[in-house]
Amino acid sequence: MTELPILLGLALSHKVMFGTALLGSMAGIVGSFAVLRGRSLVGDMLAHSALPGIGLAFLILGSRSMLGLSVGALASGLLAIGAVTVIARWTRTKEDAAIGIVLSTFFGAGVVLLSIVQKPGIAGNKAGLDSYLFGEPGNMLTGDLVILSGVGAAVLLVVALLFKEFKLVCFDIDFAQSQGWPTLMLDLLMMASLAVVTIVGLPIVGVILMAAMIILPAATARFWTNRLHLMLLLAAGFGLAAGPLGTYFGKGLPAGASIVLAGASFFVISVLLAPQRGVLAQVLAEYQLRKRMTREHLLRSLYELSESNLPELTKLSLKSVRDYRHWVSLEKLLEQEVEKGTILRDAEHVQLTPLGLRRASELTKAHRLWEMYLVQFANIAPDHVDRDADAIEHLLPEALLLELEQKLADEGRLPYLVAEVPLSPHDLGSGTQDSQR
């Protein structure tokens, strides 16, 4: 391949940025499918097992042309995928071990071949072969950029044409198969596009770092969305940004490594900050759940303590509340409830307000309904259900509550107030008879 930097009018550094961005976005897209299919490490395997193909191609061609070497790499990568499939399907060896075996054996063979190729006396320009191991973005030629763009366009075309099919294969391959789709072909096509991208990326970022480019943007994108098309876009975006950022900030450092570290920092940020799956969001959600649970426990305790005198609202002594169950910080809890208007309190006493009574009776209802369920359907002894119900009452779905409510009412154990929902003042039409119960 001839070097034609003037053709595109790009300086080397711009070329590197352009190339790594292109590679990153492609890797993000094919990597998303790999991560969703539980094949994150296949990229790693492909990258390693391309080596013997590169050595052989070099032996045959006697020169470092990206196209020739890539064809060799692709061939041995596909052979490796085939070997893993055969081993995992036909023998006792599990898929993870199969991947490891093929990866290391192929790589070992590659090292052997390269050491033969690089012996003095074998003609040809050997410079650049090592770049397949460690990556050398600086070696990128304009021709390589053209190949990269071509591969990128092809991958995009395949993904765009087969988006629906790939989606189904990713999320429910059994269903796809039962619908009569050629799942094996689709799966292979997915793997093949992964292989192609991995192999064009090898000389740019090297073996391990290519494996990282496959996983990192996709795993990062997964944190932000549950929708496939958004995930693909995001992964492409993260991959796109990692290349230029890494090369820009990593001046003087190995380019492949700094690109991966840029990708890794996106990942870390996402792990911490992503809205639903992020660590902070989860910690926050758990804190709120805990807070709600203690509050619900307080209201239910107050209800149970005043239950014997209902519908009168009893003034309860603080001591009786304190003794009723274990509290972590009762004072603060009571304060919050006073603010919410669910209880009244003075120095010694506490009392539910009518609003508080309504809330508390709903909560007690949920608790007792669940206790019923445990006794009737899970055969748990009545003296064991209280604690189990305590743990789960906050998470019960509405439909289940309604179903069990009737049973409880039949036994005359429905807590006070909940049965007294007034009738609607207007006509609800037919078909809503149930809701007027």
Binding site: I101, S104, T105, V112, S115, Q282
Partner: protein, 427 residues
């Protein structure tokens, strides 16, 4: 890369083979558990992830002496395991992806550290990959052994001690982690311990053999042994043997072709695995193919016998012709082979164009038809299946009903004389 065709002298070669063998055995000891726990890729991950640990240990201690390197490796092993687990458990990253994210990032970090602080010093990433077994005989000796050999022997010893003291715990937690936990061993603690040992083994092996050979030796000998046996103790012994064999074979081949020794050992162990895949007596592809073939021949034979019996039962004066039988069975080579088997064994006879059961053949066929019809009766009477649904399952299972089951069926069905279609059940 350099070549040392001058080291073919026996003593240097012996050191190399010994070092390779010690490394392989040390790796195989922990590798067996990786393979059994389906965490083989953890070997690959750890062997890359230890890089920053090595660099930091090297920077802090200013030397490449053994103790700081091991401490660095152990620390990184724990960290990698922790990060992988945590990402999987709390951030819901799929376990393979979390492994991939962690080890590639750590490796990249290590590469940056090397470039920034250690460049030009005694630290070559290519060497981490490919190792320098060739140089082992020239390494400074410790206690009369070349340093890499000494280090790996040390780790091998540590691994063996660990195995002996935690034998039943490791065994139990590998095969049934939940049971281990309910019995009071912490499967998690064992997991971390094992991963630390993998990391330490990896590092011990780096200097001599490089990461490819380590990754290969952690997984391949164990997987090979797993194809050959069903007992953990035998698996460990076999995997050690495979490791030693790979070292000898690999060295010999590398000298013969004058190429990289560690790479050749990897190829050698891959070949050994390939042999096991093909020819393992119980789990190999060949034996599976042979037993599949035997099974399908048996089914063809028995189907033909039963068919002839039914035709005879229907109208003894109109026997089946060979052409009709072939049409019914399918005309593949297996059915032809099966028919030839029956002729040779004297189960059927050919009279002109027609096939006839011999007395021996009739006995066998009667048994099969009896199995078939008893099973049909059973399906109808005890499982309440409709009449038109029982032939297929009976047809499939008739080949697998043994004498004991026949007797049980007979007793269960109170010696019925007829199947649900009204045909006689032969005695």
């Amino acid at each position: 890369m350099q070549f040392f065709s001058d080291i073919v002298n026996p003593s240097a070669g012996t050191w190399i083979v010994l070092t390779g063998a010690a490394t392989n055995v040390a790796c195989a000891m922990v590798g067996c558990f990786l393979v059994l726990r389906r965490m083989s890729m953890m070997g690959d991950a750890l062997s890359h992830a230890v890089l920053p640990g090595l660099v930091v240990a090297f920077l802090l201690s200013g030397s490449i002496s053994i103790v700081p390197l091991f401490l660095g490796a152990a620390a990184v092993g724990l960290l990698t395991t922790f990060l992988t687990q945590t990402l999987h458990q709390y951030a819901r990253v799929p376990s393979d992806a979390s492994m991939g994210v962690v080890f590639t990032s750590m490796f990249a970090f290590g590469v940056v550290l090397v470039k920034k602080y250690v460049a030009g010093l005694h630290f070559d990433i290519a060497c981490v990959y490919e190792g320098s077994l060739e140089l082992v005989p020239f390494a400074e000796p410790i206690a009369g052994l070349p340093r890499p050999l000494f280090t790996t022997l040390l780790v091998l010893l540590a691994n063996l001690v660990l195995l002996i003291f935690l034998w039943k715990e490791l065994k139990l937690s590998s095969f049934d982690a939940n049971l281990a936990t309910t019995m009071g061993f912490s499967a998690t603690a064992l997991h971390y311990l094992l991963m630390t040992m993998v990391a330490v083994t990896t590092v011990a092996s780096f200097e001599a053999v490089g990461s490819i050979l380590v990754v290969a030796m952690l997984i391949v000998p164990a997987a090979t042994a797993h194809l050959l046996c069903d007992r953990l103790s035998i698996m460990l012994a076999l995997s050690a043997a495979v490791g030693i064999a790979a070292s000898v074979l690999g060295y010999w081949a590398a000298i013969y072709w004058d190429t990289n020794i560690a790479g050749m050992m990897t190829v050698a162990v891959g070949m050994l695995y390939g042999l096991a895949v093909m020819f393992s007596p119980r789990y190999g592809i060949c034996s599976t193919l042979v037993s599949n073939l035997q099974m399908s021949l048996r089914v063809f034979r028995e189907d033909l016998l039963a068919m002839l019996y039914r035709v005879e039962e229907l109208d003894a004066s109109k026997p089946l012709t060979a052409a009709e039988a072939r049409k019914a069975l399918g005309s593949g080579w297996q059915s032809r082979w099966a028919m030839a088997n029956l002729f040779r064994a004297g189960h059927i006879d050919r009279r002109g164009d027609q096939l006839q059961l011999t007395d021996r053949g009739r006995d066998d066929a009667r048994r099969l038809v009896r199995s078939h019809r008893l099973w049909e009766t059973y399906l109808v009477e005890h499982l309440g299946m409709p009449l038109d649904h029982v032939h297929e399952p009976a047809h499939r299972i008739e080949h697998f009903i043994d004498e004991k089951m026949l007797q049980e069926l007979d007793a269960e069905l109170k010696r019925k004389g007829q199947d649900p279609h009204g045909r006689e059940i032969p005695e």
